[in-house]
Amino acid sequence: MNGDLVLEILIAFASLSFLAVGGAPGMIPELHRVVVENHHWVTDAEFAKLFALSQTAPGPNLLIISLIGWRLAGLLGLLAATAGAIVPSSILAFIVGRLMERVAKASWYPYLKGAIPPVVVGLLLSSGVVTARAADETTLAFALSGLGAAYVVLSQRNPLWILAFGAFTGIVAGRFGLI
C-alpha cells in the first residue's frame, strides 16, 4: 500500500519536473493543483506551511517537493519525490549540456532566450499569488505578504530577515489575540 503511494508520488512529481520552466518557483501553482486539489495529499494551509518551511532551508527551491514526499511517506516518500523532481529534468539537462556548443550557437537560441523570461515572470507572479491565497486567511497575513513583496523589490538583503520578521509578527499578533 505504501509502495503504491511512493510510486504515485514518483510519477506525479516526475511529470511536474518537465513543466518547471524557469525553475521550481514557476511550478508552484501546478504543484498546488496536483497535491492539494487533485490528490488531496495536503490541505491548503499545510501547503502554505510546507512552502514556508522549505524557504527557510538553504538549497534549491524545489525542496518543497522533497518535503511533501517526506510528509506523505517518510524517507521513501522523500526519496521518490526528490528523484521524481530532479532526475527527468537532469537527464534532459545532461543531454543539452553535451550539445551545449551547438545549442548556444544555434540561430533559434537567442529567440528562445528572449521568449522564456517573460513567461517565467508570469509563472512566478502566479506562484506568489497562489501561495498567498493559501496562506493569507487574515488581514494581517495579507499585509505581511505585501511587506514581503516590497522588501524584495526595495532591498538587497537576505530574504530570511523578512521570514523572521513575519514569524515574529505572527507570535506577537497571536499573543495579543489579533489572529
Binding site: 519536473s17 513543466l19 520552466v21 525553475g23 518557483p25 501553482p29 502554505a48 506551511k49 512552502f51 518551511l53 538553504p58 534549491p60 525542496l63 517526506w70 522523500l78 526528490t82 530532479i86 529534468s89 537532469s90 534532459l92 539537462a93 545532461f94 543539452v96 549540456g97 545549442v103 548556444a104 529567440y111 532566450k113 528572449g114 521568449a115 522564456i116 523570461p117 517573460p118 513567461v119 517565467v120 515572470v121 508570469g122 509563472l123 512566478l124 507572479l125 502566479s126 506568489g128 499569488v129 497562489v130 501561495t131 498567498a132 486567511e137 497575513a141 505578504s145 511587506l147 514581503g148 524584495v152 523589490v153 523578512i162 521570514l163 513575519g166 514569524a167 515574529f168 507570535i171 497571536g174
Partner: protein, 168 residues
C-alpha cells in the same frame, strides 16, 4: 571528483553564491562560460541550479560527475530541511509556533511576488512582453488552466513577440 561534491555542498539556492563559488573561488568556469551554462539551464525545465550542476559535473567527470555533483548539491540542504521540519513538528502544537509559521508563510509568499516584480523590472520588458507576463499570470493564477496548456501556448506566443520585435 571529491572536490566537486564538497564544493557544491556548501552553496544554497541563491544564484549569487553559486556564481561566487564556481567562478571566483574555485575558478571552474570563466565568467562567460558560467553565463552560458546558466542561460541554457534557465531555458530548460527543472531547477536552474540543478541543471547547471548537472552540466558542470559532466564537464569535469562525465556522467558520474553529474550524479555526484547533484548528490553533493542536494544532500546538505535536505538534511538541514529535515532537521528544521523535525524540530518544527515537535513544537507544532504550541500556539506561538503556529502563529509564527503563519506569519512566515505569509511573508514567504510575498517574497515570491517581490522576486517576480524584481525580475520583471531587471528584464526591462517591452509592452508586448508585459502582456505575455500578464496573460500567463491570469491564465495560471486566476483561471487556473493547467500549466502544460499555458506553456504550450505562451512560449510560442512569446517567441512570436521576440521574433516580431527583432524584425523591426
Amino acid at each position: 571528483m571529491g572536490f566537486l561534491s564538497i564544493g557544491l555542498m556548501g552553496f544554497g539556492g541563491v544564484a549569487a553564491i553559486a556564481r561566487h563559488v564556481i567562478v571566483e573561488r574555485r575558478r571552474w568556469l570563466s565568467e562567460q562560460d558560467y553565463a552560458n551554462i546558466l542561460g541554457v539551464g534557465q531555458v530548460l525545465p527543472g531547477g536552474n541550479l540543478i541543471n547547471m550542476t548537472v552540466m558542470l559535473g559532466d564537464r569535469f567527470q562525465g556522467a558520474a560527475g553529474s550524479c555526484i555533483a547533484l548528490l553533493g548539491l542536494m544532500l546538505m540542504p535536505l538534511i538541514i530541511l529535515l532537521a528544521i521540519t523535525t524540530v518544527y513538528d515537535h513544537y507544532a502544537h504550541l500556539e506561538d509556533v503556529r502563529s509564527a509559521t503563519m506569519g512566515a508563510a505569509a511573508a514567504a509568499s510575498g517574497l515570491v511576488i517581490g522576486t517576480a516584480i524584481k525580475m520583471g523590472r531587471a528584464l526591462k520588458l517591452s509592452w508586448p512582453k508585459i502582456g505575455v507576463v500578464l496573460v500567463a499570470f491570469l491564465a495560471l493564477a486566476v483561471a487556473r488552466f493547467p500549466l502544460v496548456l499555458i506553456l504550450l501556448t505562451m512560449i510560442p506566443i512569446s517567441l512570436g513577440v521576440v521574433w516580431w520585435e527583432r524584425r523591426r
